[in-house]
């Protein structure tokens, strides 16, 4: 049988090649067999010994997550060492006794620990089971003292996220959460493991790949009790990259202080670069809580809170614009030639269209008034007439030219896009045709119009800087652990506004009038004291939440129930001649923009100009000398 002589029909060459092939195969098998002999017979004793105690193990070395700084290099988010406690079941001689001791040292119920051991995956007795992630000093001391009598018990140091000021810029910076199973499956080849934390919101989430760093590990030889004898090989972990935010701590603190006890948002942005100097959303939350973990009742309280603390109102909150929409209508009216700046229209407090009466916020009316004063005093009657002449389609066109209705693409998750209504949109959405009266309502920023505070910052920023739409920027630089710059985030723009320079100049003058003119609605934003000389521009807005009853008296907000009160807007920039900062304030159910929002904007402006970097002052001087 088998391997008989070569077929006589084969040539000599064939025969030779068969022989070579057979010899090659046999000799490779001999080599394999010799290797097996070497491993099993010559070194067999050693390997048997190593296998019996499963002495060579892998340990993870957790990476340090990147630090987050503000624009001046102040630390906002750091890491602190945390002591974690784990047991390796296979190394424990008496599980009950060990857990009994540990429950005393940790001051927890023994059955809590037992449950954790029970729930650990079966069949891997050498995989450490985590019992406590963050022991306090006393717990560490107790365990360490008895370490020798606790075979299989491990104490390891691991970096833990630490937010230096609780709830500071919570929405912008975001928070971490333990990786979920679905996420783990998707991201396993990015090096995530069960129990890892990763960014779930804000900058922590959007810059996860930069911040996370790379896990290291070591091959360790352990004795029979699981104690480490020697480190065979070690690969250190790579710390994550650090982020330098565009945020200014002082300004952020002031914005948060201004919103204390209110629901709303404040965004401060540099209109030239798009740098977000402050972004506050109120109420906020303590990010450390996400690291520590919530109790079910704590979590329920946050989720059920009527003012939605987890929502970043600066980018997720969509509100009717109220009178802050008026610059769009002005631009449309001037560009479309519907009126001239000098056109006088009469406001006697009411305007009738069909059988419906539309009112001005000022019941007595503004009298004979031109466009400039109509903006300064925010006359609604004037704008009803502009709205009537323009129609919704043209207003929507100009609203989109100001990038309303589209996201600003700030690199933060869950940004909302706002809404610019058109007749077609309404018909499709509600099945009801557009009504004439809705042109009027739209012209004063009511009705279906919606925008987020950050959209308003970009919109007014473009008026302030002469027509460029900046992309808001939250992170300035990515640095490695040694401070070397890895990535410089360049300011970006979406191009210029599609308006004539004259129209932009008129808008700038009118917005300046809102604050500087004696009868302006935004006078509460005037800077006090030594800063008086800085000219401020802005626009108030009072956005109705529900349609005002016909006989509503002006200024009686305190009698209206909270949830029916108007949202207060104020969008402002300064110095008017060379703007450095745009501040958007929105106070939910705050009442009138001029009284509820403008003072908060002034508070933030004041801090900005008091702390204004000397560099910028020098720049200003240079400009005035020219």
């Amino acid at each position: 049988m088998g391997f008989g002589p070569l077929n006589s029909s084969s040539g000599n060459g064939d025969r030779l090649r068969f022989q070579v092939a057979v010899y090659l195969v046999v000799s490779i098998f001999v080599v394999l067999l010799l290797r097996i002999w070497f491993l099993q017979i010559i070194r067999g004793e050693t390997y048997r010994d190593l296998s019996e105690n499963n002495r060579i193990r892998l340990e993870d070395i957790a990476p340090t997550r990147g630090i987050i700084y503000d624009r001046h290099g102040r630390i906002l988010v750091d890491n602190r060492p945390a002591f974690k406690l784990a047991i390796v079941r296979a190394d424990v001689s008496d599980l009950q006794q060990t857990l009994d001791k540990l429950s005393r040292f940790l001051e927890v119920e023994q059955n809590q620990l037992e449950e954790k051991v029970r729930n650990a995956p079966k069949g891997a007795p050498f995989r450490p089971i985590l019992l406590n992630r963050d022991m306090n000093r006393n717990q560490v001391a107790a365990v360490e003292t008895h370490r020798f009598n606790l075979p299989g018990v491990k104490v390891q140091i691991e970096p833990r996220r630490s937010y230096e000021r609780p709830s500071f810029a919570a929405h912008l910076i975001g928070y971490l959460g333990e990786i979920g199973e679905a996420q783990l499956r998707k991201r396993q080849n990015q090096g995530y493991k069960l129990g890892d934390y990763l960014g779930r919101y804000g900058v922590e989430m959007e810059w996860e790949m930069s911040l996370k760093g790379q896990r290291g590990g070591r091959q360790v030889e352990a004795d029979a009790a699981g104690r480490q004898l020697q480190i065979l090989r070690e690969i250190p972990s790579q710390p994550g990259h650090n982020l330098v935010l565009t945020l200014d701590t002082q300004l952020q603190l002031e914005a948060e202080r201004a919103l204390e006890g209110k629901a709303g948002a404040i965004v401060a942005m540099d209109p030239n670069t798009g740098d977000i100097l402050a972004m506050a959303s109120s109420p906020a939350f303590d990010q450390n809580q996400f690291v520590r973990g919530f109790t079910p009742s704590e979590w329920q309280a946050i989720v059920d809170h009527p003012q939605h603390p987890l929502e970043n109102k600066a980018i997720q909150g969509q509100y009717p614009l109220g009178s802050t929409f008026k610059p769009v209508v002005v631009a449309a009216a001037l560009e479309e030639g519907v009126i001239e700046p000098e056109t006088m229209l009469t406001c006697n407090g009411e305007y009738q269209l069909g059988n419906h009466v539309y009112r001005c916020w000022k019941k007595r009316g503004h009298g004979e008034i031109a466009l400039f004063q109509a903006v300064v005093q925010s006359c609604d009657i004037y704008f009803y007439q502009l709205g009537q002449r323009l129609g919704v389609e043209r207003m929507a066109d100009y609203a989109r030219r100001f990038r309303l209705g589209s996201r600003t693409l700030v690199r933060l998750n869950n940004e909302a896009g706002g809404l610019v209504p058109t007749a077609r949109w309404k018909l499709r959405r509600f099945g009801i045709p557009w009504q004439k009266g809705e042109d009027l309502v739209t012209a004063i920023g009511q009705g279906f119009l919606l925008a987020t505070p950050i959209q308003m910052s970009v919109f007014y920023g473009a008026i302030a800087n002469g027509g460029v739409f900046v992309k808001p920027r939250v992170v300035m630089r990515v640095e490695d652990a040694d401070g070397g710059v890895v990535n410089k985030v360049q300011p970006e723009a979406f191009g210029r506004i599609d308006l004539s320079p004259g129209t932009v100049a008129f808008l700038q003058r009118a917005l300046e009038g809102v604050v500087q003119e004696p009868r302006g609605t935004g006078r509460a934003a005037l800077l006090p004291g030594k800063l008086r000389g800085l000219r401020v521009a802005g626009k108030t807005g009072t956005a109705q939440v529900v349609r005002a009853p016909e006989d509503d008296e002006e200024g009686d907000e305190s009698e209206v129930p909270y949830k029916f009160r108007d949202h207060a807007w104020f969008v402002t920039y300064a110095p008017a001649e060379a703007p450095e900062i745009v501040v958007t304030v929105l106070v939910e159910h705050g009442g009138h923009g001029g009284s509820a929002a403008a003072p908060l904007a002034r508070q933030v402006m004041e801090v900005y100009f008091k702390n204004r970097p000397k560099v910028q002052e020098a720049k200003l001087e240079a400009r005035s000398e020219q």
Partner: protein, 394 residues
């Protein structure tokens, strides 16, 4: 199950042989077919398969239970493999010659499909999702390439001393699938495909001077490739060649594999008594590292038995090649034998820490559907060549 299959195959063949006189033209029902059936080869196949199933049972055994679903699936796969094997030896292999190129093209299209629609598992696209099951087209490509190369060389006038220019077309036939598999990336399978193709071409015979030029050219091309590679790609190659560079990954696996094999000593720890695999110190211990389970539980004796079975199988395969009726059959049988040989050598060499850690299964032993079915089909072709050797027998 193994036994029923053993008896099933000849009995069916005998039934057909009764109809011998009815249709003489059909070569399938020639009495000599049964006379020439290579029982030894089939027996060796079943023996290796049996060792494989016992070892797989051990590998899936952990802390008192067996992950039965994987074992059942493997048995189904082997069952399907047997059906395919019967099909593969029923029809005269000249059919393969006729469809060699279209089948090759289909294989290439499947490899392209993997790159486009493939399922990404730990960073590489190797699997095609076909609803309830996933398939690995690179496994299928191995026999398809063997068939295509066998056809090419069988149709050539000359029998040896090929010059470089004459090897251009077969080289292209090899390099296209190799490139597609490198893109997945699956460097191990790509290298294996190169090894199989090189075996066939060397077996056909290359002029010594051309061989020198080819070797020199490949060697000098290596630095160029190195230069063209990106940093992480170089890192990957270096880790492949030297697992100790990756002490937390493949380096650790190799240490644990060596401990598993070594701790088996002469007699082994006994059936289901191995610990390295059960305690999950070795990942992939039911697929690529399954040899460690055998060596740990059955010791040197067990390893020797499996190696002996595999060696007999390979020698038998080569004797089929040598005694085949025509050049196509010879190349087919040689190519299939070479495929099995490279799998065995690379897999066991890797497990013993002598070769880079690449994902190459041990044929008929490692768990894996595509590999099982394709291997069984290839063995069917081998049996086909063996039983149809009589036509030109003198």
């Amino acid at each position: 199950m193994v036994l029923t299959a053993l008896f099933l195959v000849p009995s069916r063949a005998q039934v057909t042989s009764n109809h011998l006189r009815i249709s003489e033209k059909c070569p399938m029902i020639d009495r000599r077919l049964i006379q020439n059936f290579d029982w030894l080869l089939l027996l060796l196949t079943f023996a290796i398969m049996a060792v494989g199933l016992v070892t797989l049972y051990s590998a899936l055994f952990s802390g008192g239970g067996v992950r039965g679903s994987i074992l059942t699936r493997q048995i189904y796969w082997l069952g399907l493999g047997m059906v395919v094997m019967v099909l593969a030896f029923s029809l005269d292999y000249q059919w393969l010659e006729r469809f060699a190129y279209p089948a090759y093209v289909i294989g290439i299209l499947l490899l392209m499909a993997v790159l486009i629609f493939g399922k990404t598992v730990s960073g590489s696209k190797r699997w095609l999702d076909l609803g309830p099951l996933v398939a690995q087209p690179s496994e299928l490509m191995k026999p398809l390439l063997v068939i295509a190369l066998a056809r090419f060389f069988a149709r050539q006038e000359k029998r040896e001393s090929y010059k470089l220019r004459e090897l251009a077309l077969p080289a292209l036939m090899v390099l296209v699938p190799v490139a597609l598999i490198v893109l997945e990336p699956d460097l191990g399978t790509a290298a294996l495909l190169l090894g199989i193709a090189a075996s066939i071409i060397l077996f056909v015979g290359v002029r010594p001077s051309s061989l020198l030029v080819l070797a020199g050219f490949s060697l000098s091309a290596l630095p160029l490739f190195w230069y063209l590679m990106k940093g992480y790609q170089r890192q990957r190659i270096l880790t492949l060649l030297d697992p100790s560079r990756d002490p937390l990954g493949s380096g650790y696996h190799i240490i644990q594999a060596k401990i598993a094999v070594g701790s088996g000593q002469f007699w082994g720890k006994g059936f289901l008594k191995g610990t390295q695999g059960q305690l999950r110190f070795i990942p992939e211990h039911h697929t690529d590292f399954i040899f460690t389970v055998l060596a740990e539980e059955w010791g040197f004796v067990g390893a020797l038995l499996l190696l002996a079975l595999l060696l007999c199988f390979l020698l038998r395969g080569m004797s089929v090649a040598r005694r085949s009726r025509d050049q196509f059959g010879a190349l087919l049988a040689f190519g299939i034998t070479a495929t099995v040989f490279w799998h065995v050598a690379v897999n066991i060499g890797m497990v013993l820490g002598m070769l880079p850690v690449v994902g190459i299964p041990l044929p008929l032993v490692s768990y894996g559907g595509s590999s099982a079915v394709v291997t069984m089909a290839s063995i069917g072709i081998l049996l086909n060549v063996a039983m149809r050797k009589f036509v030109f027998q003198k």
